[in-house]
Symmetry: C2
Subunit: 130 residues, 2 copies
């Protein structure tokens, strides 16, 4: 990751009123942390739950991150992810010129994720009725 040496990851999700909604994102965060010890992994939300993407990035930069992957953890890209998120990330790049901020593909559009969901659906369909 040279010349940047302090990577961090932001998992960016939609947000909801119900705190329980965030459980799967916390599950993904815990798994990523286990695989990448020492790399800060934070959740952030488009709406209804703190922190915002701006707040999450500000916190990471304050703690020394200089290379940040922003990963939209959505099934598909609606207007927020398609139009608003790239603009938000551009603004953050201008705000932190010394920090490399990469915007990843949307999770649900990634082939390995579609593959895994399809395999899981197939496994459900093959379970006998209780």
């Amino acid at each position: 990751m040279s010349p940047h040496s302090h990577p961090a990851i932001v998992l960016f999700a939609h947000g909801a009123r119900d705190p329980e909604w965030a459980t799967p994102f916390a599950g993904i965060k815990a798994r990523v942390e286990r695989e990448l010890p020492g790399v800060p992994v934070v959740l952030s939300y488009l709406e209804l739950m703190p922190p915002t993407l701006d707040e999450a990035i500000a916190g990471l930069v304050r703690n020394g991150a200089d290379s940040i992957d922003v990963v939209p953890v959505f099934m598909a890209r609606a207007g927020h992810v398609k139009r608003d998120l790239p603009l938000l990330v551009d603004a953050l790049r201008r705000a932190y010129p010394g920090v490399a901020i990469r915007l990843a593909q949307t999770a649900g559009e990634a082939d390995p994720v579609m593959d895994a969901i399809a395999r899981w659906v197939v496994s459900l369909a093959q379970q006998p009725n209780a």
Copy 2:
């Protein structure tokens, strides 16, 4: 799947105004169809895109399905999936007493799906900056 012998699968997603939004769900559907030849797999949506779950189930039953898995393809459970969907499925069970309708876990809450998303995030973080 005895005594039911005509299985079918409904992938139930949120829906959006932008038709392109549905691309990942079509990708999952194609993968499942490839693994389960002869099993009808249909998409249905909570809002903004046809068909509704009711319409999807009616079509499958009309074509002879008697054992249907309804799979919520959401990252997490907001009110729609948590409260409304079980009620909708209960009403469909009453409407079609001869058809076994199973409601699956939400995709994003399934361990193999969280595992796959986490692995994909880790692989992104390990890519060098362009």
